[in-house]
């Protein structure tokens, strides 16, 4: 199965809302990366691995902090791919790399696509790459069947929303509010209407994220979306050295 299809299938296969978990690679420590990753894979339906970047302009304080610490720890895109490629068993859940564009550019798109697939990666999320600028990267991902996930937000105009939903692969990442990652989300009526609109236009699962941190929120979002993305909240759990398994399974209704 093509990797981008595998993401869709994994999210659809979840009984109850799908859980997509985000962690920053090599944070809080590089030694525990693969161990933590395996635990997170086992407790979720897909995993986003954050590639650290010096200038994470769409992220809040938690992911800024984890990103800078990971760079200090020597983590790079190459380091991540090497670690993933060296695992003895395939990932227990589809993996996506979440990265700002410059590390991808510096690596070289074609080599990256090939190396990513070999390392068991199924797709990419690139917060500073709007669809209009994405043709060169998509051209490199396509032959490997890797997904490029599109993000939509409550402020996305209707025509644009339908276009982005139609182009997204793997899932549609419905950002629950304008703003950076972190903080907390509440669910006013406009938001439920928005998620419903995204669902209507989308051929792939719709997962909502940014500020989701409690079981209550997951349950409410799950009434409209196919799943949720858990980001800063999980990073904070890992930062404290708490068990990701317990936290993630506690979010399932």
């Amino acid at each position: 199965m093509l990797p981008h299809k595998a993401i869709e299938r994994a999210l659809e296969a979840s009984d109850g809302p799908a859980l997509i978990a985000f962690l920053t690679a090599g944070y809080p420590s590089t030694d525990s990366f693969l161990d933590v990753l395996s635990q997170v894979e086992a407790a979720s339906d897909a995993v986003e691995i954050g590639v650290p970047f010096t200038d994470p302009m769409a992220d809040g304080v938690t992911i800024q902090r984890s990103s800078h610490a990971a760079i200090e720890n020597g983590v790079s895109l190459r380091w991540i791919l090497d670690r993933l490629a060296g695992r003895s068993t395939p990932p227990a859940a589809p993996l996506l790399l979440m990265s700002y564009l410059n590390p991808l550019l510096a690596f070289g798109y074609d080599e990256l696509a090939a190396r990513a697939r070999e390392a068991g990666v199924s797709g990419f999320i690139v917060p500073d790459l709007p669809f209009e600028e994405s043709a060169p990267f998509r051209a490199s991902l396509e032959p490997e069947g890797l997904a490029l996930v599109q993000l939509v937000t409550p402020a996305t105009p209707a025509e644009r929303l339908s276009g982005l939903c139609a182009q997204s692969q793997g899932f549609v990442y419905a950002v629950t509010r304008t703003g950076i990652t972190g903080g907390e989300v509440d669910l006013p009526t406009e938001l439920t209407n928005y998620i419903r609109a995204v669902k209507e236009h989308s051929r792939v699962p719709v997962c909502a994220g940014f500020g989701v941190r409690t079981r209550e929120q997951v349950a409410r979002i799950a009434r409209h979306a196919d799943g949720v993305v858990i980001g800063s909240a999980l990073v904070e759990i890992l930062e404290r050295g708490d068990s990701p398994t317990e936290f993630l399974s506690g979010l399932r209704p």
């Binding site: 970047f53 010096t54 200038d55 994470p56 302009m57 769409a58 992220d59 809040g60 800024q64 800078h68 760079i71 790079s76 895109l77 190459r78 564009l101 410059n102 590390p103 991808l104 550019l105 510096a106 690596f107 917060p127 500073d128 790459l129 709007p130 209009e132 600028e133 599109q150 993000l151 939509v152 937000t153 402020a155 996305t156 105009p157 644009r160 982005l164 950002v175 304008t178 703003g179 950076i180």
Partner: protein, 426 residues
């Protein structure tokens, strides 16, 4: 980085791009200057960018908008600024030196041309709040002043390092009613300030306008800022033509590149006029010791644009160094990347030491205290004058040096140039 095309096809392509520039076709509809530029922003900002782009293309050509902008430039900013014949430097260098005096504008640097223009535009498209970044503090002061004038609340992000080394400007921003937020993350200079301003903008793209201070960032900023700064070159060319003629060479310092593009734009079609951009050579050529993006960088994406950039093999943005806060930035505007690629502008560097010497020489010879940023342009011109005796040289004096006192205090006045001046006087 080679500026001369290696193959005939590249040469033809460069000629075509130069013609596109000269005939006003760049940036194109996608915000591109050849391979550079574009709009690399989080999806959350796309509606705000589209609203701004609509406003820019509707209002910049609009007669009423231009009229209110010109009134502000004349009555409040103090334009046109003087063109000064630098008799002292001319004597010393064996050249004919002229200086375009942006240091004489209200608030003391070219940044005000852009700040008041964007402020008027932001108001016209319904913004209720302004955020800005600042390095040297000149753009922060200009934004604070423009916002006070227009009745808009203003928040300025400034790296902690710059808060300290440009302290006089922090007080000025406070007096002008702006909220100054020191940024403790990243390199704690201009780059971190832009990161923080964008993070703020992302949380309220509907009501906030990001008043970006240089010709960098996503489309339409590089275009908008160029159009608002082009008044520098238009005035200078006409003033110089009336008093002497065309210059042989034009010099400007390049941080993000706004004063340079503002001065160069009018001369792009005059191919006999050499255009030279001077970047911060800092304390040496090694990565991290300078801010010479065009001299030492490669194409990459930061802060919304594809342009030349200083980064390591992992794609991580490089820390930079310059004695001047306004040039201490790892990126550069996309139009400069194109101008370098096609060879229309030559980009060189001046070191911290050369800039400090130029401050001293300009004080001694002209009775003008230039900003440390502007001093890089003077240093570049001085070197060129030595190789081109008798040439007519136009220097963009982008700002005044009052803000630099906390830095200059660390360098006692006993520099070579001052000693020489004292010697000549004696």
């Amino acid at each position: 980085m080679s500026t001369s095309p290696r193959t005939p096809t590249a040469a033809a392509e460069h000629t075509r791009l130069l013609k596109d520039l000269q005939e006003g076709r760049l940036p194109d509809a996608r915000g591109r200057f050849g391979p550079f530029g574009g709009c690399y922003v989080p999806e959350t900002l796309m509606p705000a960018i589209q609203r701004l782009t609509g406003g820019v293309y509707r209002l910049l050509p609009d007669k009423r908008f231009q009229q209110s902008l010109n009134e502000e430039l004349q009555d409040w900013v103090g334009r046109p600024t003087a063109l000064t014949h630098a008799a002292g430097l001319s004597d010393r260098w064996g050249a004919e030196v002229w200086m375009k005096r942006e240091d004489l504008t209200h608030t003391g640097a070219h940044k005000i041309n852009n700040a008041i223009g964007q402020g008027l535009l932001a108001q016209a498209i319904g913004a209720e709040r302004i955020v800005a970044e600042t390095g040297a503090g000149q753009h922060g002061v200009a934004a604070a002043a423009a916002c006070a004038r227009l009745g808009l609340p203003c928040v300025v992000y400034m790296g902690e390092v710059d808060v300290e080394r440009q302290a006089p400007n922090v007080d000025r921003m406070h007096r002008l009613g702006a909220t100054v937020v020191p940024v403790a993350s990243g390199d704690r200079t201009l780059r971190a300030a832009i990161d923080a301003a964008i993070q703020d903008w992302v949380t309220d793209p509907g009501g906030t306008h990001y008043l970006l201070g240089s010709a960098v960032g996503p489309h339409p900023y590089p275009y908008l800022v160029r159009e608002l700064q082009a008044v520098i070159g238009r005035e200078a060319k006409a003033q110089l033509a009336a008093r002497a003629g065309m210059p042989d060479a034009v010099f400007a310092c390049v941080g993000g590149g706004s004063n340079a593009i503002g001065l160069f734009h009018e001369f792009i079609g005059d191919e006999d006029v050499a255009l030279v951009g001077v970047e911060a050579g800092g304390r040496g050529g090694a990565l991290g010791d300078n801010s010479a993006t065009l001299s030492g960088g490669r194409p990459g994406v930061l802060h919304g644009a594809h342009s030349m950039l200083l980064y390591d093999d992992d794609g991580q943005i490089q820390e930079t160094h310059s004695v001047s806060a306004g040039l201490d930035y790892p990126g550069v505007g996309p139009e400069h990347s194109l101008l370098q690629m096609i060879g229309r502008v030559n980009y060189v560097t001046a070191s911290d030491e050369e800039a400090l010497d130029a401050v001293a020489e300009c004080c001694a010879a002209e009775g003008i205290l230039p900003a440390l940023e502007s001093a890089h342009a003077i240093a570049g011109a001085r070197r060129w004058a030595a190789e081109n005796p008798g040439a007519r040289i136009l220097i963009g004096l982008s700002g005044r040096g009052d803000k630099d006192m906390p830095i200059l205090r660390r360098f006692p006045v006993a520099t070579a140039a001052v000693k020489e001046a004292a010697h000549v006087a004696a």
